[in-house]
Homo-oligomer: 244 residues x 2
């Protein structure tokens, strides 16, 4: 499956950072935004699968923005607000929001809602779903999101295990950012491996090593999957998204 691209709209920089970070850790691509203009620019330039929209946006109003977007586009929207009063909720639904979450929220619940809404959207049209599948290019390599396959620069098909593919996807979604082992574990648990709650020993190191042995020219001197001593791992390749 392709990696969902979410737009996180909140005028509080701290809140925005926290949410994007959390979503990134869980395998999503999360893009920050803070105004209606930014939302529109994102919608015009790239694919967006779902918008998390704060209701209180300084001088702008999330509910009204939601109404305007709904009038034009079919992108799923989840409203987020500190006001959980019923009438607020209703205002959200009446305006066409797909869901409504009250702040502060349980992160796991947020994930469940996001998935549920996206699942609904997917079910509603396999055509729209097909358009969402995309591929990545990185340093001559190609990850084909359609078939979940990886091709070397020479065109050979490289067989990666499920878990290795999952790791690669997490890296592709977070290029140039150092990921701690815990972050990777969190992201992989979503992508679907065995779910041990915590402390998986050195499983991540092994996984990284195995992936390196398959996609690095010289695994002893990794160029793409670099290690940041004391921190974690960084994907240092030039990553570009390949629209299908």
């Amino acid at each position: 499956m392709s990696i969902p691209r979410l737009l996180v709209v909140d005028d509080d920089p701290e809140m925005r950072a926290m949410m994007t970070q959390f979503l990134q850790q869980n395998g999503f691509i999360a893009l920050p935004a803070s105004s209606e203009n930014e939302i529109r620019s994102h919608l015009n330039t790239g694919r967006i699968d779902l918008i998390l929209l704060d209701v209180m946006l300084g001088d702008e109003n999330g509910v009204e923005i939601c109404a305007r977007l709904r009038a034009e586009q079919d992108v799923p929207i989840i409203l987020v607000s500190a006001l959980s009063a019923d009438h607020q909720r209703m205002a959200g639904y009446e305006v066409g929001a797909d869901d409504y979450i009250a702040k502060p929220f349980n992160p796991q619940l947020l994930l469940a809602r996001v998935r549920a809404v996206m699942q609904r959207a997917r079910r509603s049209s396999s055509l729209a779903y097909r358009r969402r599948i995309h591929s990545f290019r990185f340093d001559g390599w190609l990850y084909d999101g359609k078939r979940d396959e990886v091709h070397s620069p020479e065109g050979y098909l490289v067989a990666l295990s499920q878990r290795e593919t999952a790791l690669l996807k997490v890296l592709l979604a977070n290029p140039h950012i150092p990921l701690t082992r815990d972050e990777i574990v969190a992201a992989l648990d979503v992508t679907g491996g065995t779910d041990k709650p915590e402390a998986q020993g050195r499983a991540i190191d092994m996984l990284v090593g195995r992936l390196r042995s398959k996609i690095e020219v010289n695994p002893k001197d990794p160029q793409m999957l670099r290690t940041e001593r004391g921190v974690g791992y960084v994907f240092a390749a030039d990553v570009s998204v390949q629209e299908e």
Copy 2:
């Protein structure tokens, strides 16, 4: 559009009466039901636009019923429950419910949710209103629901057993989402095989294997019926509904 027809499923007669009455007063046609059998009889005899399904149904379980219905039909479902714990919510969403309401609820909120879900269903193409979906196309293959037959991309008629066909239908109804063995078992028990209550050993694995051997080009490297280690099985083909 005609007047929406809702199905109110609750085992408490008083609650049932209250809800149907309230919904009737607000312009809906509300039909009472108290068991899975009654739901199915309604779905078979007339149009139902949305089901309000109580989670606690005496000896039956709303969540499981929801899973089974979802496997076959695309009717919108709102789960209703006295338990509002987060994990309960998630169980509902995971199973494909369109929304989840905690009892006791604000009547106005109930109305808002019902309208929101139906609005969504309408927006998501007319799929929800095709009560009887007969045929599916998937990766060149054709499942003819009218004759319960499966045709290969080359046009050959492939003979599937009753149980294999049932599994295929469950998969077609849930493309791209991982189904656990338990979910598949639940769905199949309805679709009509032998009904052993629980724990069917590895029957599902066998069934999947046999279906693979018949519809996969290379059963050793399945492209459509993929396995998600530690989770279950995913139908990864491009599925499109074929209007009759």
